[in-house]
Amino acid sequence: MSYPALLDALHDRTAGDHLVASASGVVIASGESIAGDHPLTRFGLGVGRRDPDDPLVLERFADGLLDLHRQLLRRGIDHAVEHLNGRTSGDTTLLDRQLVQASLADVAVEIRESEALRPDDPASRWRAHQGLTAAGRLLLTLLGASSFLVTGPGGELHLAEVTGNVYLHPGEEDR
């Protein structure tokens, strides 16, 4: 399932009858759910505006976003293992290179640790998001130029970063 579709499903699970609006009143959902012309449209997302949702709804939505981000990273690791196993340099695959292995391990460790974080306020959720963003950036370096294609982990992780910037950023006071 694509990131926009997963995001729509999260909106649906969290609010049911409407799309969840962030504390700043920005709404992000799939391009099918929100029509319009925005740089993110090319990636399959739409951007709208509405009155902010209730903090409890936003909390549940935020936890869901962090889960989604981890899900993308797990998928990204599988993709990277396959991709790097299919590329050779000298007489080995790129997956055989220790620098590559160490980076993949670092991404995996961050996912595990992030699952154990259990953030319980906006500031800790934001910190969890930042950890996942850093792990995603590391993962993308492993995919080389293919990570710069809209289709694939590069495009999807960009969307997760932007969505986190909208829904998980706690604002100055709580950061």
Binding site: V26, R42, G144, F148, V150, H169
Partner: protein, 404 residues
């Protein structure tokens, strides 16, 4: 906000002499027009032709055309096309938008390989073509299966069965301007081993050549493409450096061009990185102390990498090409770029990537520089090789050596 000191240059560029400072100032004057170009190209990479009249593109013509082939009017004072001047121009223009630079017509990365390897007739033919109206070029090295391991490339060059030149077979991927260019250089294999690699000039209108635009996250103006060669005929006189020995052409030319251009790529990265910091300062002139400290730490690093960049560029200009130190500049600039946009997005507050479309674009664009001209892993391994050869730290007395 411009990030400029009272001396007219950014921190870390203090060693530039008067003429180069003037060049910097002239480029910074025309650079802001690239902001609009960058945004337009992000929406529609083909809109480039609407902007070619801008003086900033004229400056690029001055940089990428060897002086002996320049025919157009000068936009900035004439300058020696040194590596240092390349860095000055590319950093200043990238403060406007590096995507506009990559989208522009001209010899680009082919400049050095054609100038270095080509005989008189080949140079005349290539640069004459580039000068004949807006002409886009491409530099085709990376393949679908081979990026970092470029020396192992698979694209083949075989003798044409009718005895008339050569045939090119294979694919190239992630090639800037590939599907729009009127001429380009392709690296291909005539025989096994590194010396079996040739650089050939290819005409995309030839039969068997096809190009497809790839959907990229950022730097969309660069029109990154996938090229396919199905027995494309390459006339014998299009093999660059055919008058040289195999070890002095082909891959030698690629390395020659890439290493000399690499500080310039670092400069482009720093230009946009500085622009992201300046954008933050403009929109959040006052920050809490702890946040300002984070920005200051980043600016310290940017200044340090800029200093290292001008140092390796000066080395190149005096004939010292230290791949380990050059790679360090390119690698660190790319890493700082990502750090700068992440920090700016954080400090500009919730939904900053929606409310600040320029920042969202810079945020995407800056990620590309990790991959162009070698990934960080490759440069880290190169630094290690430099250490083994005692060739990483500059010798005492060198401008960059510690001064106690």
């Amino acid at each position: 906000m411009t990030g400029l000191l009272s001396t007219g240059v950014e921190r870390g560029a203090d060693a530039l002499d008067g003429p180069l400072r003037r060049l910097h100032a002239q480029c910074r004057e025309v650079a802001p027009s690239f902001r609009e170009v960058g945004v337009a190209l992000d929406r529609d990479p083909d809109s480039i032709r609407d902007f070619l009249h801008l003086p900033a593109f004229g400056v690029l013509g001055q940089v990428f055309t060897p002086p002996e082939y320049q025919t157009g009017d000068l936009v900035v004072d004439a300058f020696d096309p040194t590596c240092t001047a390349l860095c000055v121009v590319l950093e200043a223009l990238s403060h406007g938008d590096p995507g506009a630079i990559l989208a522009g017509p001209g010899a680009g990365l082919c400049r050095d390989v054609v100038r270095e390897l080509g005989d008189d007739a080949q140079r005349e033919q290539f640069f004459g073509r580039v000068d004949d109206g807006p002409t886009w070029t491409f530099f085709g090295l990376t393949e679908p299966g081979k990026g970092s391991a470029a020396l192992e490339l698979d694209t083949r060059l075989t003798p044409a069965p009718d005895g008339d030149g050569w045939l090119l077979h294979g694919e190239k991927k992630y090639i800037g301007n590939g599907a729009r260019a009127q001429i380009g250089v392709v690296f291909c294999r005539r025989a096994p081993g590194p010396w079996g690699i040739e650089a050939v000039v290819v005409d995309p209108s030839a039969e068997g050549f096809s190009g497809e635009l790839l959907p990229m996250v950022g730097l969309r103006g660069a029109r990154i493409s996938h090229l396919r060669f199905d027995a494309v005929r390459v006339p014998a006189d299009r093999v660059l450096g055919r008058h040289r020995t195999p070890s002095r052409r082909g891959i030698y030319g690629a390395l020659h061009a890439l290493l000399r251009f690499r500080p310039g790529l670092g400069a482009m990265t720093l230009g946009l990185t500085q622009a992201a910091c300046d954008y933050l300062a403009e929109h959040r002139p006052v920050l809490p102390k702890a946040d300002q400290a984070r920005v200051d730490a980043l600016l310290d690093r940017i200044a340090a990498v800029r200093r290292m960049m001008y140092d390796v560029a000066a080395d190149v200009d005096r004939g010292v090409v230290n791949a380990h130190r050059i790679g360090t500049v390119k690698m660190r600039a790319a890493q700082l770029g990502e750090r700068a946009t992440l920090l700016a997005a954080e400090l500009l507050g919730p939904a900053s990537l929606i409310e600040h479309p320029w920042l969202e674009k810079a945020y995407r664009d800056l990620r590309a520089f990790e991959f162009m001209e070698g990934t960080s892993n490759l440069h880290r391994l190169s630094v290690f090789q430099g250490l083994l050869k005692s060739d990483y730290f500059p010798a005492a007395g060198h401008a960059d050596a510690p001064r106690h």
